[in-house]
């Protein structure tokens, strides 16, 4: 029985009977291709990474040579492993992959991750034939991720990519799908410091079996996942993808980075419509039609995902922007307009209240709010934000911080650690919860060179502290506004852009 691409009912039937729980949260995992001598082969690294993550289930290393690794017995054959398997990680040579997969299927594994390359991506008849064989075995009852991929990162279970034994076990609402393993690894690493926490990250490589559409549907239904981000180059079936995307985006935000948007192919076209309908335009339209949010690069994807992960799901139109410096506020207002956001002047009574917490000279309580002092104490900022939140036109509040100023003056008299980010995080969290208006932080670091690595460090610590309190942090005001605008594109569907 071959998987028929033309008949969507087959895919649906298989998805509904697929035991994704055993694939993403396996208890018993075989890794085929582990070397008894250790070393740096992908099989061994795969095994060591899983151990380093503190994977709690049982791991069964497999190699025909036998032996042991880190005190664990290496099985000579898959058949020798006692009991049923949940997942098989295949890191053997391409020509041996099918046999391992078949053995794993017979051991009752729900799925297999085939890391090995040497399949259709080679373009050779042997490679294509090997992939066909994998497809055939998969259709008999084992779901395959790969080949030619990095596999799965799932913090709850401890599965990880080969080169990433150091990813956190802390789960979060963000899922990520990608054909490319490099992209999956990079995005996850970037997410770590930016504040993204993941439910499931899947790199599916050649996508012989499980791939974009089915995984989208799965994640759409997945209770662990609150926002789906995705890197797409090619897709297997346009109809299937559009329907799956509509389904997933109907349930939760889907952020998509589409790679390979070159202009229309070489096909000769007669009409203007066809010449206008190049790959880029059609993709943009299709993604919009499905209700997904299209982004232009990985940074934008991560920032949008952060906003979706941390902000309550609704449209935020009116913003208050506070910071120490007039020009910053002006620039913020200009950028807000470009993104369809507003920085309305505060109502008079509100403005008066805000002014009562500001220095008498050099400050402005209109919006943008100029606190006129980069060292404004957290208690004062708390009062200001509580007051400005009273304006009914304000949906969300932005604080622009420049913590490097603390260093400038520390050399003169005070200590550097006077940037009280813990107290500030605590107070901002309190105000945001009390006023039901989220606060977003922008911490721009203008000091990033070698002499200022201490500033970089404090920035990183402060960022982590704010994120822990659920306060989104961005490096630049433009990043924050774009992320909020992307949030609005999803929740404001149907509104005039």
């Amino acid at each position: 029985m071959n998987q028929d691409q033309g008949d969507p009912s087959i895919v649906v039937t298989r998805a509904s009977s697929t035991d994704f729980e055993r694939i993403f949260h396996p208890k018993r995992v075989a890794i085929a291709g582990v070397s008894p001598g250790g070393g740096s082969g992908f099989g061994t690294l795969s095994f060591l990474s899983l151990q380093a993550m503190g994977f709690e289930g049982e791991i069964f290393p497999v190699n025909p040579k036998g032996g042991e690794i880190t005190g664990l017995k290496i099985y000579r054959n898959m058949e020798d492993i006692p009991g049923r398997l949940d997942l098989v990680v295949v890191v053997v040579a391409a020509e041996d992959a099918a046999a391992i997969l078949e053995a794993g299927r017979k051991k009752g594994a729900a799925g297999a991750i085939i890391i090995t390359s040497g399949f259709s991506e080679t373009g050779t008849p042997e490679g294509v034939a090997r992939e066909e064989e994998i497809r055939r075995i998969a259709a008999e009852g084992i779901r395959v991720i790969g080949p030619n991929c990095f596999g799965i990162y799932c913090p709850r279970s401890g599965l990880t990519f080969i080169p990433n034994p150091d990813l956190t076990r802390e789960s979060g609402p963000v899922a990520f799908l990608s054909q490319s393993g490099g992209m999956a690894s990079d995005y996850t690493n970037m997410g770590m410091w930016m504040g993204l926490r993941f439910s499931k990250v899947v790199s599916f490589g050649n996508g012989v079996d499980l791939r974009e559409s089915e995984l989208l549907r799965y994640l759409g239904d997945d209770a662990e996942t609150g926002v789906i981000s995705m890197y797409v180059e090619g897709i297997r079936d346009g109809d299937e993808f559009l329907e799956a995307l509509k389904f997933a985006a109907g349930k939760k935000p889907v952020v998509i980075l589409k790679g390979g948007l070159s202009t229309a192919g070489s096909r000769a076209v007669v009409s203007h419509t066809a010449s206008l309908g190049g790959s880029r335009t059609i993709w943009e339209s299709i993604l919009r039609q499905a209700g997904a949010v299209q982004v232009r690069d990985t940074q934008e994807m991560a920032q949008a995902s952060l906003a979706f992960a941390l902000l309550p799901g609704k449209v935020y139109r009116g913003l208050s922007v506070a910071g120490g410096g007039g020009a910053l506020g002006i620039v913020a207002c200009d950028a807000a307009e470009v993104h369809g956001l507003e920085v309305p002047p505060l109502q008079e009574a509100v403005s008066k209240k805000v002014a009562s917490f500001l220095p008498r000279t050099g400050a402005s309580a209109v919006n943008p709010i100029d606190v006129a002092n980069p060292y404004t104490p957290p208690a004062v900022l708390e009062n200001i934000f509580r007051a400005s939140a009273q304006d009914s036109r304000i949906d969300l509040q932005i604080l622009m911080l420049l913590p490097h100023h603390f260093k400038t003056f520390s050399g003169l008299e005070r200590g550097w650690m006077t940037f009280p980010y813990e107290e500030l995080a605590d107070r901002l969290k309190t105000v945001a919860a009390e006023t039901q208006k989220p606060i977003v932080l922008v911490m721009t670091n203008t000091k990033r060179g070698l002499p200022d690595l201490d500033v970089v460090e404090v920035h990183a610590k402060a960022r982590q502290t704010f994120l822990k309190e659920g306060i989104p942090v961005f490096d630049e005001i433009g990043d924050a506004l774009r992320a909020i605008a992307n949030n609005n594109r999803y929740y404001g569907k149907g509104e005039t852009a």
Binding site: D239, S271, A274, S285, I286
Partner: protein, 228 residues
Amino acid sequence: MNHESAEKITGSARSGGRNVLTEYESKQVLKAYGIPVTREALVHKESEVIPVTADIGYPLVMKVCSAAIAHKTEKGLIRVDIRTDAEALQAFREIKGGLEGQEGGVLIQEMIKGRRELVMGLTRDDQFGPCVMFGLGGIFTEILRDIVFRRAPLTREDAFAMMREIRASGILDAVRGMKAADRERLADMLIGIGQIGIDLARVREIDLNPVILSGKDPVVVDALIVLA
């Protein structure tokens, strides 16, 4: 909607070895799907001209209508704002002469007045299949590129979203003394174009440019259908 007649028109062009429908044929397909097109008639003999002009009424546009000539403007085989029988007969003779013996006739159609020009169309994308286009029409369509697509079939909401998404969406509103466009009618047209793409697998591309807003009413003024 009359699929059979549309099927018949595209089928006979195909069996005649053609992959491009004439403007007249293209509009017959559109009409079968309830898409408003210019009132027009195709004539081959000079004696047919005056009865037709009398029926449609001046001012009129007359164009060459031949599968062999796709770009009528470039060939100079189009006459606009024809107001008298004498002008109509002269136009007929000139256009007929321009055919230089190739097969074809002269299309006589009402002249639609309106300053707002839209474009609609359909392309069959390799990955997504039939996709409907909507945007700002006229001669600068490809320069301005103010267009959006939706994969067919279109929901009503898809059609309305397309109208909102173009940068120039404001021209559909009541602007400078012009009436707000009949968006319901525009939505019907976009949905209908998508339906043609779904029903007629041999239609590869559709180009409706311009679709002129005559007051609030959209009318397809020029049309081209390309077969696979």
